[in-house]
């Protein structure tokens, strides 16, 4: 079930909320049970057969975690048990998400013969698998405080994060789930939740989905996309994925808040980042955190230990040497980002996306090591916008691979972006051209200008203006968390954004009218329901 579907908005959500608040009269346990029940209904709505897989995954991981905890006195056996449990999770993930692509690849190379069996991808398998692997590791490290099966099931299955994140950490969720306060009606949390959800819905249906046509025009025909079409497609896609993911994250955070639960921030205006390091601190933050905790840090630690065992330097100065930089920075970064790329999909283009960002991050780290920050911590008035611009440009290159159907298609589109497939002339209405006299003929002849109808011109200009307006929103306006900062929309501290005096939400009549209108606009814009980009991951 999609958050931006009629069934969810007009059926599931009202029922889930009403049931939840009714159940609070019967105590926290009954309310929690209701949440588990509706979460399973939510998950099974699309394809009930995957409910079994989901349930098996939860039971297996909980049992494994308990086994790991019992082996506390035998570290080697505990590590072995953890490895086996992780292997089972990763194995299931590979089977459902990557096996078909691997077989196709092998078939293409002639190494395997016969028809390729199609394997249906269970919804959100990457998210609930990663969440549970994190739990297993924390259990082994003794970091899990709450161990009850009941709350574990709710932690994994709670529907707002179930199919597209954020990737939650048990230490930030379990304490909330065991608090009796969570299972009481709170008008304030409901109001805050609806406001955040409304912002997210508008971002998804009104901002992201309206980019679809121009994205398809370029990415659908990369071999023939002209300079203009290719650039419009890539710039539109950057907006589409931004608002799609940001909108989804807002909706998830808002929904959780309606049930008195706060999620971590997952998206913090990444296009305002002034470096690629900062970009990954702002984009899909819970995935970045997860990869840092469970992939990068162990890798970096292993490399450091390896160097230490060989009596090689491991300090900050060692990182400034070519060998030290390559082994202590580049190697773990590239491996982590390769995994991050492949996590998004089974395809070479995703791997290249990850590796491109690995290179970016490595370069960024090299700059930081070789050219430390100014002592006063400041930067020139021009420096910050320039850095933001270059970071955004670098992001666009990665997004070309991320969205393309293949590496070849990505390269073709990049060719279009540098003009290899020609340029489209500027569209001007015939009435305007008629006033240009002799210049008209030469402009038309040179191909710099194309004649179009007045309606065609208005539509084209309107489309371009819409893209510009959305970039103004991206770069100049506060994000949802900043608008809601007075009410702690997410775990952790949120700072006020620009125009905080005017654009900070309060539970008053003006904001009620604005939020009602925004939600109305978001519902209207559902039109034909489209899938979230992040569902495929």
């Amino acid at each position: 079930m999609l958050f931006n579907s009629y069934v969810f908005l007009f059926g599931f959500l009202p029922l889930a909320l009403a049931g939840y608040y009714v159940m609070t009269a019967f105590g926290p346990r009954v309310s929690a049970l209701w949440l588990i029940l509706i979460s399973f209904v939510f998950y099974g709505w699309w394809n009930p057969q995957f409910l079994i897989l989901f349930a098996v995954s939860i039971i297996f991981n909980y049992t494994a975690s308990e086994g790991i905890a019992r082996l506390e006195a035998r570290p080697r056996a505990q590590t072995l048990a953890l490895c086996l449990a992780i292997a089972a999770n990763v194995g299931a993930l590979i089977y459902y998400k990557y096996l078909e692509a691997i077989i196709r690849c092998l078939t293409g190379l002639g190494l395997v013969h016969g028809p390729v069996v199609s394997i249906a991808l269970p919804l959100g398998i990457s998210f609930f698998t990663f969440t549970q692997i994190g739990y297993l590791i924390d259990k082994k490290d003794g970091l899990v405080k709450e161990r009850g099966l009941f709350h574990y099931i709710l932690f994994v299955s709670f529907f707002p994060h179930l199919i597209a994140g954020p990737i939650l950490h048990n230490r930030e969720m379990m304490p909330q789930l065991v608090q009796p306060k969570t299972y009481r009606f709170s008008a304030e949390n409901l109001a805050v939740g609806f406001a955040i959800f409304g912002f997210g819905l508008v971002k998804k249906t009104l901002f992201a989905d309206t980019m679809l046509d121009s994205v398809r025009a370029g990415f659908g025909h990369p071999g023939t996309a002209s300079f203009n079409t290719a650039w419009v497609a890539v710039l539109s896609y950057a907006l589409q994925i931004y608002f799609d993911f940001s909108g989804y994250s807002d909706m998830a955070i808002g929904l959780a808040r309606m049930f008195n639960i706060r999620f971590p921030m997952n998206f913090n205006s990444p296009y305002k980042a002034a470096s690629v390091i900062e970009l990954w601190q702002r984009w899909h933050m819970t995935l970045s955190r997860y990869l840092a905790l469970y992939v990068y840090n162990p890798l970096a630690l292993a490399v450091t230990r390896g160097r230490a065992s060989r009596n090689l330097a491991i300090g900050r100065f060692a990182q400034a040497t070519p060998g030290g930089f390559a082994s202590m920075v580049v190697l773990p970064t590239m491996i982590t980002m390769a995994i991050a790329g492949l996590w998004h999909g089974a395809g070479l283009q995703y791997l290249i996306f990850g590796l491109i960002h690995g290179v970016y991050l490595s370069i960024n780290h090299a700059i930081r090591i070789l050219r430390p920050r100014r002592a006063d911590g400041g930067e020139g008035w021009l420096t910050h916008p320039v850095k933001v611009f270059f970071t955004f440009a670098a992001t666009l290159l990665g997004l070309v691979f991320f969205r393309s159907s293949s590496v070849g298609a990505a390269l073709q589109l990049l060719g279009g972006m540098i003009g290899l497939h020609g340029f489209d002339g500027l569209m001007l209405p015939g009435a305007v051209l008629a006033h240009l006299g002799d210049l008209r003929v030469s402009l038309l002849h040179s191909g710099l200008v194309q004649p179009t109808s007045a309606v065609g011109f208005i539509n084209a200009a309107g489309g371009l203006s819409w893209i510009i307006l959305l970039y103004v929103i991206v770069w100049c306006f506060p994000n949802t968390q900043q608008i809601m900062y007075r009410f702690e929309p997410t775990l952790g501290r949120v700072q006020a954004g620009p125009f905080a005096a005017y654009l900070s939400w309060r539970p008053n009549l003006i904001w009620a009218a604005a939020a009602g209108a925004a939600l109305c606009l978001g519902v209207l814009a559902i039109g034909g329901t489209s899938e979230f980009l992040y569902f495929q991951f």
Binding site: E278, S288, E488, L491, P507, A512
Partner: protein, 389 residues
């Protein structure tokens, strides 16, 4: 050294604080109202809740009010924002409701609408062809025509090959514009279920609505279904244009052009098609022919031309498949015949776009229609020399 995620790494350790802290500003907002000052004795938490409840009530009211206003507008003012399909249908509905069917009535898709010009015919006729429609829509339009006392001497049905394969504009045009009402849509859904042919429902796989709910929402002009048109039509920007289109189509007895270029070598969809008649469309097509046969109204099946550019790329099996299908339908329905070849190839210069004839093409095709219909229009003097079976 890290991935650059140093700040995030520490985050899980942070203990969540619940519930959210007291929001002093919110309380102040509420207390700004003198009427609320009496509530100052309440605890801060209770006061916050009271403010939030009032906010929720205002929020819900605002949502319902905005949504309701938009719904009223979409229900009452479709002429102001829908595409040209709407005024075209309104004009044809006027012809139907006044039973102005002429001696010959034409049914079909947009190709038939552009290619058969009643004003160029020497006998009265009306063009009821609708863009994006398939024989499914024709069935319901023909049924309405048959309610008239004065019946046409002949009915012409002309559909592109693709319209026997799928009705991909069923929801986007026919249901949205209102060519089909609730009962019609439910009829299609029921027949669809009986035939185990879910092609119509499969066109909207992701809205997850029950068929009856979807039919009702279209009939009630549920505003999200019309949001695209509201935006692209600048809310009311199409009103004047649509009114003019309605008058024009009415004056032209249902005829309307699409592309008006002096020629087109753009390739139409036929270049990619292989023929397989849809069971649902076939059911409605044969039901239409049966209804007309029952009322003893002769039917002539025609096939509009396609441009040379498309012909060059078209699989010959497509034409053979269409011809075979139409022949089998004619064999099963007395009073029905085929006029002209299946999917003839015409020069590109006669097309206004990839699909539709331009003025010159329509004039040429209408002359042929005149010839082909002589046996029914003038049974005594009419010639059947061009009739092909």
């Amino acid at each position: 050294m890290s991935l650059g995620l140093d700040t995030l790494r520490a985050e899980p350790a942070a203990t969540p604080r619940l519930p959210p802290p007291v929001e002093r500003t919110a309380t102040r907002d509420a207390l700004a109202n003198p009427a609320d000052r009496g509530a100052a004795s309440l605890s801060a938490a209770d006061e916050r809740e009271r403010v939030a409840r009032r906010y929720l009530a205002a929020f819900a009211t605002a949502f319902v009010a905005f949504f309701g206003l938009v719904w009223i507008y979409t229900a009452l003012m479709p002429m102001a924002f829908l595409t040209r399909d709407y005024p075209v249908w309104i004009a044809k509905r006027s012809l139907l409701s006044s039973c102005d069917l002429g001696s010959a009535s034409f049914f079909g898709d947009s190709r038939a609408m552009a290619g058969m010009d009643p004003r160029a015919l020497p006998f009265p006729s009306s063009n009821f062809a609708l863009s994006g429609s398939s024989p499914i829509e024709s069935y319901f339009v023909v049924k309405r025509a048959l309610l008239c006392a004065h019946r046409p001497k002949v009915v012409v049905i002309a559909y592109s090959s693709g319209k026997f394969i799928e009705d991909d504009d069923f929801w986007n045009i026919s249901a949205r514009v209102g060519i089909l009402n609730y009962a019609d849509i439910r009829d299609v859904q029921r027949k669809s279920a009986a035939l185990h042919d879910d092609e119509i429902e499969a066109l909207r796989p992701s809205d997850h609505l029950a068929p009856s709910v979807r039919a009702a929402l279209f009939a009630l002009r549920f505003p999200p279904f019309y949001f695209d048109s509201l935006v692209n039509g600048y809310v009311a920007g199409r009103y004047m244009h649509n009114r003019a289109a309605e008058r024009q189509v009415l004056a032209d007895r249902g005829h309307a052009f699409f592309g008006t270029a002096p020629g087109s070598d753009a390739v139409a969809a036929e270049a990619l098609l292989t023929f397989k008649a849809s069971p649902l469309i076939d059911a409605y097509f044969t039901a239409t022919l049966s209804a007309l046969a029952h009322d003893k109204i002769p039917v002539v099946l025609m096939s509009l031309p396609i441009n040379d550019a498309t012909c060059k790329l078209m699989n010959p099996a497509l034409r053979a498949g269409v011809a075979r299908y139409l022949a089998s339908v004619v064999a099963a329905h007395p009073g029905t015949r085929i006029a002209g070849p299946a999917m003839p190839c015409w020069p590109d210069r006669l097309f206004g776009d990839a699909f539709h004839l331009n003025a010159a093409g329509a004039a040429a095709y209408t002359r042929l229609v005149d010839h082909w219909l002589q046996p029914e229009i003038n049974p005594v003097t009419g010639s059947s020399r061009v009739v092909e079976r």
